[in-house]
Structures are given as structure tokens and as C-alpha cells.
């Protein structure tokens, strides 16, 4: 559901598989130079194999680039550790948005959960609260190849473990990535509308709005038909039909205005306070003046595909857009796009959203140590992950990774991490997100008034969290 759903041709998938298989094979022999401390895990992977045959089940959600990478790593791990079998399943039904989380939860309840699976950051508090995840204890640290919790934390950027840490300070997951938004635009379409992507300066969302209106006015036949109806969007925000995408988009704007969904104590909603209203107002302005949210793709993955195929001019997407959407599909956008510094509400205040998935271990797993060792191996080669998958692991100094240097606009993208915040934390995240998403959709597609809608939403959230 989250990250980068997209279209992957069979050929591209095969290539990814081959490439990552090579990466997997080489990295355990010669750990990558970057992400120095993380690489110790890779060498641990090849060390003593556990006694007796061990079978680990591993569930992942349906994101082919990373799934293929993981499959290759799993194969390499099995070779390096005779007696270990990894049963990997990367497309867990059921379906529909949130389907993966639902199935994880119910499988935990029925005792059919796998040994290893992934949890997305905003869902972490709720899943941790079920008491079914194994905390990273001393044994886990050894298996992962770290001397202490501090060493583990020091191996990643500050705050990388926040979403997966409970009130007692226990850590439950190894994040595979901390993703964040970037603005990507199609150069050809900007030029057709009379805007030069190389020289245009976009500091704020209002600058972006002005640019969009100029491009639409300069190339009206592309965006609207003879009777004035929209046929293509200049931009459609990735916030429809999926709760977490919706919260990501909202959080990015909230981070820039200083607004929030919940008050600091988590006991009431602040979504109808001025800072939040300003953020939502801007989202609606962008959505309704630079396109028609009723047309075009709906689920976020389709929206990214639309940008990659040139059906939509600009799009908000994670840092993985190049690696997951453009490169493997050989998109016609390759070499024809610009990644901009993320526009701001006010030029001097940076703000962005952080989200990402973490590998976690089932507390009921009889082979937790092997599982952690395997996770350590999965995350041991940040450069390989950037190169083969496109997502950016939360390692320090990511700009020094060769794969980031090879990513077009890598420096612009890296700078966009500034001011990032995680999506709000609440045990009632699912209920709140679903509620807000529905109303964001209504405001965007039907133009229902922002302030009064948010007043109602705040009231309903208060009922949920009280």
C-alpha cells in the first residue's frame, strides 16, 4: 500500500532480481564501504550456523523491487547458513488498502503469523501494543552484530528508531528506510507551458501554484478539452483511497505550518486549529486549481505511474521515485524530469514527512536469533538497497553512498529530509486516519468547506481518543 506501488514489467523484475542477486552474493563477502557499522552485520551473517535445520517464514507486502531484492538476499543467506530455510511470501492477501496490516494482525491472533514481517511506522504503536513483537534484547543485538543498543542507534540517523520504540524504551524493529517526499516534474511539459525547469525558482507552494497555472495556460489543450473539462492533472496529490498515503501528505503540509492532528497529550484533536487549517487549505488549493481530483488515477501507486508515463506533469513521491519507478521501467521520463527542493508554506520554514517500514520478529517465533541475524543481513548493504530498490535506508551520511551519488538530483533529494516529522502516533491511528482521509477526499473532490469540515473531524477524533 504505501511506498511506491507501480508497474513493473517482467523484464525489469528479472533484471532487478539478477542485479540484486549479484549484489547479495558479493556483499556478504566484501561488505560495502559505506554505512560502516551496519556492514558488521553482513559479516555476522556468514558466521556460525545454528544447530539443526531452521525454517523462517517471512512476509512482505507487495512491492516488487524490494521483494526481489529480499528474495535474493534470502537465497544468499541460506547458502551462507546451511540448515536455514527462508520461506518468503511477498504478496500477502487480502487486498485493498490496509489489507497487509489487517492480515498481519489477524494472523498474530490466530497463531499463523510468520517469523518475520514488516510494519509501517504509523501502525507500529498499535501492533507493538498487542504484545506480539519480540523486542531487540541482548541476544538480538548479538545476532544483529551490535555490542549495545547505543551502538545500534548510533548506526542510523537520529530518530530512526523512534516509531518502533515503546514507552519503556524497547526497540522492536530495524527500519529498512525512512522515506520522505520530493517534488518531481516533467521537463517537457513545463517547457511546453513556457517554463524553463532549469531556471524557474520554486521556494513556496504559492510559487508552485503560479508555475502550474502558467504551464496550464501555456498548453491548455493538454490539460482541458474544448468544453473546458479537465483531461490531465498538472498535479494530483497522492492522498486518495489509502489512509497512510493520505496521512503522509497531510503530515508534510502540517510539518510546514506547525499544525498537528493531535494535541501533545494525544487526548484531543487540533486538526481544526489555524495552523492545520492553513495546511489543508493549501492542499485543497493545489488539488483544485491545478487539476480535477475526480479524474485520472486514484490510488497513489497509479498516480506515481501517471507521473512516470507523462500523464501527469508533477507529482509528490518518495526518494525512491527514480530507483523504483523510472529506472526499472525505463520510463520515458528518464532524463526528462527535475527533482525540486520540496516547496514550503513559508520560504524560511522547512518541513517534510517521514515514514517507513521496519523488519520485526514475531515474539512467538522459536528462532528469534536466526531471524534477527537474517534481518541484519537484509539491511546490511545500504548502497545495494539504494541501487537496486531505490529506497533510502536511514544510515548516516547517505550522500556518501555511491548509489546516491548516481541518483539524479541526489543532493537535492538528500536536502529534502530537513524538517521531517513522523506521522502522528496513536493507538487509534487506524480510526483517525480513516476518518481524516475520507474528509480530505470529500474536500478535494467535491470542494466541501475546509474549516467547518475540520471542525466536525476534530469533534469525531475527540470522541475516538477520549
Amino acid at each position: 500500500m504505501d511506498r511506491k506501488p507501480q508497474r513493473i514489467t517482467a523484464i525489469a523484475a528479472t533484471i532487478t532480481l539478477v542485479v540484486s542477486a549479484c549484489a547479495g552474493a558479493t556483499s556478504s563477502a566484501s561488505p560495502s564501504t559505506a554505512g560502516a557499522s551496519a556492514s558488521t552485520a553482513a559479516s555476522a551473517a556468514a558466521s556460525p550456523s545454528p544447530a539443526g535445520p531452521v525454517t523462517l517464514t517471512h512476509w512482505y507486502y507487495d512491492f516488487p523491487p524490494f521483494a526481489n531484492y529480499q528474495k535474493a538476499r534470502a537465497a544468499a543467506f541460506q547458502t551462507a547458513n546451511p540448515g536455514v530455510t527462508i520461506k518468503y511470501d511477498s504478496s500477502i492477501p487480502p487486498v485493498g488498502e490496509g489489507g497487509y496490516e489487517d492480515k498481519i494482525t489477524s494472523s498474530l491472533a490466530t497463531g499463523t503469523a510468520p517469523d518475520i514481517f514488516s510494519v509501517i511506522s504509523p501502525q507500529a504503536p498499535r501492533i507493538i501494543s498487542l504484545g506480539q513483537l519480540a523486542p531487540i534484547d541482548a541476544n538480538a543485538l548479538t545476532a544483529l552484530g551490535y555490542a549495545s543498543v547505543d551502538a545500534l542507534k548510533a548506526s542510523r540517523v537520529d530518530g530512526a528508531f523512534d516509531a518502533w520504540t515503546d514507552a519503556q524504551g524497547n526497540i522492536y524493529g530495524i527500519p529498512d528506510a525512512i522515506s520522505f517526499y520530493n517534488l518531481y516534474c516533467n521537463n517537457d511539459q513545463l517547457k511546453k507551458g513556457g517554463v524553463d525547469p532549469a531556471t524557474v525558482s520554486i521556494k513556496t507552494w504559492d510559487d508552485f501554484l503560479a508555475m502550474g497555472q502558467k504551464v496550464i495556460a501555456g498548453n491548455p489543450n493538454f490539460y482541458k478539452n474544448a468544453s473546458g473539462k479537465w483531461t490531465h492533472n498538472f498535479i494530483k496529490l497522492p492522498m486518495y483511497q489509502d489512509d497512510t498515503w493520505s496521512m503522509q501528505t497531510l503530515t508534510q503540509f502540517l510539518a510546514q505550518t506547525g499544525g498537528s492532528v493531535l494535541a501533545a497529550d494525544g487526548k484531543s484533536s487540533t486538526i481544526n486549529q489555524p495552523a492545520a487549517v492553513t495546511a489543508v487549505d493549501e492542499m485543497m488549493k493545489i488539488s483544485r486549481t491545478l487539476g480535477d481530483p475526480n479524474i485520472g488515477p486514484t490510488v497513489p501507486g497509479e498516480i506515481h505511474s501517471a507521473v512516470a508515463s507523462g500523464d501527469q506533469t508533477c507529482g509528490l513521491a518518495g526518494e525512491w521515485f527514480y530507483g523504483a519507478f523510472l529506472k526499472p521501467t525505463n520510463s520515458k521520463l528518464l532524463g526528462h524530469y527535475t527533482a525540486f527542493a520540496l516547496p514550503r508554506m513559508t520560504a524560511d520554514k522547512p518541513g517534510n514527512v517521514f515514514w517507513g517500514w521496519s523488519f520485526v520478529v514475531n515474539a512467538k517465533s522459536p528462532n528469534k536469533d536466526v531471524a534477527w541475524k537474517y534481518i541484519g543481513n537484509l539491511t546490511a548493504d545500504p548502497n545495494g538497497i539504494v541501487q537496486d530498490v531505490g529506497i533510502w535506508p536511514p544510515v548516516k551520511d547517505i550522500q556518501t553512498l555511491q548509489a546516491v551519488k548516481d541518483t539524479p538530483f541526489g543532493d537535492v533529494i538528500a536536502a529534502n529530509r530537513e524538517g521531517g516529522q513522523h506521522i502522528f502516533k496513536s493507538l487509534k491511528y487506524t480510526d483517525i486516519a480513516r476518518l481524516i482521509r475520507g474528509q480530505l477526499e470529500a474536500m478535494a473532490t467535491q470542494g466541501t468547506p475546509v474549516q467547518s469540515t475540520l471542525d466536525q473531524v476534530a469533534q469525531q477524533i475527540n470522541d475516538i481518543v477520549k
Binding site: 490466530t110 504484545g131 479524474i295 485520472g296 480510526d431 474528509q439
Partner: protein
């Protein structure tokens, strides 16, 4: 159903007469033969209905043991806007897809009643949508109903069928109509065939026009068929799940979340088993009432010949 009731009944009646003579049989062997499937019904239909009521009196999230809360879940539902919205969606869907497909089905049945070129082919064409995989159809209809999709394209309109709270339920109902009109057509055709030719001939000789014939002969005689159709429609409305789940995910803003989908989300997504069970029990009581009425109205006991 009224088809050949008379014939069937006489046949059944003949069979249910006590057997005279014949070799002695161990009649309880019959019970033995029915037991395997009865066992499945008890284990997977009857037991769950009872169990639903038990669970509905608790709060239970699968992880911590259930706690007894009496009728609290039911009381909570009274004030739960999600519940009432789902009831509204279910009723709305039933009213949107039901009457429209009855009328279409009836119209087609009237047109196909008498011999016409390609009668069987037409009947097959109208019936085929009812048997196609409903999931595959939901997925593809979501594409058909896009704003820039072929339905809007052919009609030269731009209705945001599935992305607008005002039209999403209507959009889903279009699929419902398409998939059930043929079903009702078949039922109406059977009903129409059961009306004796002599009756309509006599009325025609008396000078009755087509409309008068419809009003005074056909419709009244079809009354039991209409009742069947209404019951089937109500049950179909209460069952509706996959079109919403797939085409809109219940959105936008829950405007297409049916009762069945709410039960699923409450129970298997949010792990509020008690609350989900309470909604189920309400649905069950509703179905039970419907069944009792149905059995009464149709004298099912006589129908089956006991």
C-alpha cells in the same frame, strides 16, 4: 417459482402418501444419510449463529481474553454513526439496484415471453452477466466507471461515479443492476409462463388492451413471484460486500460502506469482535424475521409436500 407448482405438488402429494406393503425398511437409515451434511450445517452455520450472540455480549480483541459486558455493544451501536451510516448505505443500495433491476428484468421478460427471432440468444445475453465472477466484474467496472472511462466517454458526460460521495453508491449500483436484471428476467419469465394461455386469451377476446391485461391479469397473478423477488433483493442487499470493498473501499468518506463491510472492518480489521458480533446478530434477527415471513407467506411446508 409458481411455475409448475400445481404439477409438482400433485407429484409430491402422490409420493408422500403412506407406502403400502413393500419390504420392511429401517427408516432411521434415512436420518443417517442426512447426518453428514447436517453436521456441516450445525458446525458452520448453526453454531456460529449461537456463538455470535455469546461474543456480542463481550469485548474481545483476540489477544486478551473476552470480558463480559452485557448488552453494552448493542447500546453503543444505537449511538454509533458508522453503524447507522452503514445501514443507510445498505438500504440505499438495495433501493437503487433492486427496483431498477426488477423493472428491467420484467421488461425484458415481457419482450421475450412470446416467440421472437433469437429468443434463446437474447435470454442468454441478458443472463450471462449474472454468472460472471463478481470480483472480476467489480475490478473491471471500477475502470469502466472512471471519470475518463468508457461509460462516461460513450455517453459524453463526466460524472465522477466512484470518487464523489453523491454518486459513488449509484455507480456501484449500476454494476448491481447489470448483474441482477438477467436474474430477475429468468424468474419473471418462469412466472409469466405459468399464467395459463386461456386466461389471457379470454381477456383479450373481451377486448382488454395490453395495459389492461398487464394490470388486471398478469401483475396480480405474478404477485407471489414479486414477493420472491423482493425477498431475494433484500437478502442480496444485506450480503453486498465485494463491489464496495473492491471498487471504493467503502469510500469516499464511508459513503459506500455497507453493513457487511462494517462487520468485516469492525471484526477482522479493528478486532472489535464484540461489536462486530452485535451487528451480525442484528442482521441475523432481521434475516430470521424475513425467513419466517417467507415460510408463512409461501406455505413452504405445503410446497415441499410434507
Amino acid at each position: 417459482m409458481a411455475v409448475d407448482t400445481a404439477r409438482a405438488r400433485s407429484k409430491l402429494l402422490g409420493l408422500s402418501l403412506p407406502r403400502r406393503g413393500g419390504p420392511a425398511t429401517n427408516e432411521s437409515t434415512g436420518l443417517l444419510f442426512t447426518l453428514p451434511i447436517i453436521f456441516l450445517f450445525v458446525a458452520f452455520n448453526l453454531l456460529p449463529t449461537v456463538y455470535a450472540f455469546v461474543v456480542s455480549l463481550t469485548t474481545y480483541n483476540l489477544f486478551t481474553p473476552p470480558t463480559f459486558v452485557g448488552f453494552e455493544n448493542y447500546l453503543d451501536l444505537l449511538g454509533n454513526r458508522n453503524f447507522w451510516q452503514a445501514v443507510g448505505v445498505t438500504v440505499g443500495y438495495t433501493l437503487l439496484f433492486g427496483p431498477a433491476s426488477w423493472i428491467l428484468g420484467f421488461l425484458i421478460a415481457m419482450l421475450l415471453k412470446d416467440t421472437i427471432v433469437g429468443r434463446d440468444l437474447f435470454r442468454s445475453v441478458f443472463f450471462v452477466p449474472t454468472i460472471l465472477s463478481s470480483v472480476a466484474m467489480a475490478v473491471t467496472w471500477a475502470l469502466l466507471l472512471r471519470l475518463n472511462g468508457p461509460i462516461n466517454g460513450v455517453l459524453d458526460i463526466s460524472v465522477p461515479w466512484l470518487t464523489n460521495t453523491q454518486t459513488a453508491l449509484l455507480g456501484i449500483s449500476l454494476l448491481g443492476i447489470w448483474q441482477s436484471a438477467g436474474w430477475f428476467m429468468v424468474i419473471f419469465l418462469a412466472g409469466l409462463a405459468s399464467i395459463p394461455e386461456s386466461l389471457t386469451e379470454a381477456a383479450r377476446i373481451d377486448g382488454a388492451g395490453t395495459l389492461a391485461l398487464l394490470r388486471h391479469i398478469t401483475l396480480p397473478l405474478l404477485r407471489p413471484v414479486f414477493a420472491v423477488v423482493v425477498v431475494q433483493t433484500i437478502v442480496a442487499g444485506l450480503r453486498v460486500f465485494s463491489p464496495m470493498f473492491i471498487m471504493t473501499g467503502g469510500g469516499p468518506a464511508n459513503s459506500t460502506r455497507s453493513v457487511a463491510m462494517l462487520i468485516y472492518q469492525e471484526g477482522l480489521r479493528d478486532l472489535r469482535m464484540g461489536s462486530a458480533a452485535a451487528i451480525s446478530v442484528i442482521g441475523f434477527v432481521f434475516i430470521l424475521a424475513l425467513t419466517v415471513i417467507y415460510f408463512r407467506v409461501f406455505r413452504v411446508r405445503e410446497e415441499i409436500g410434507y
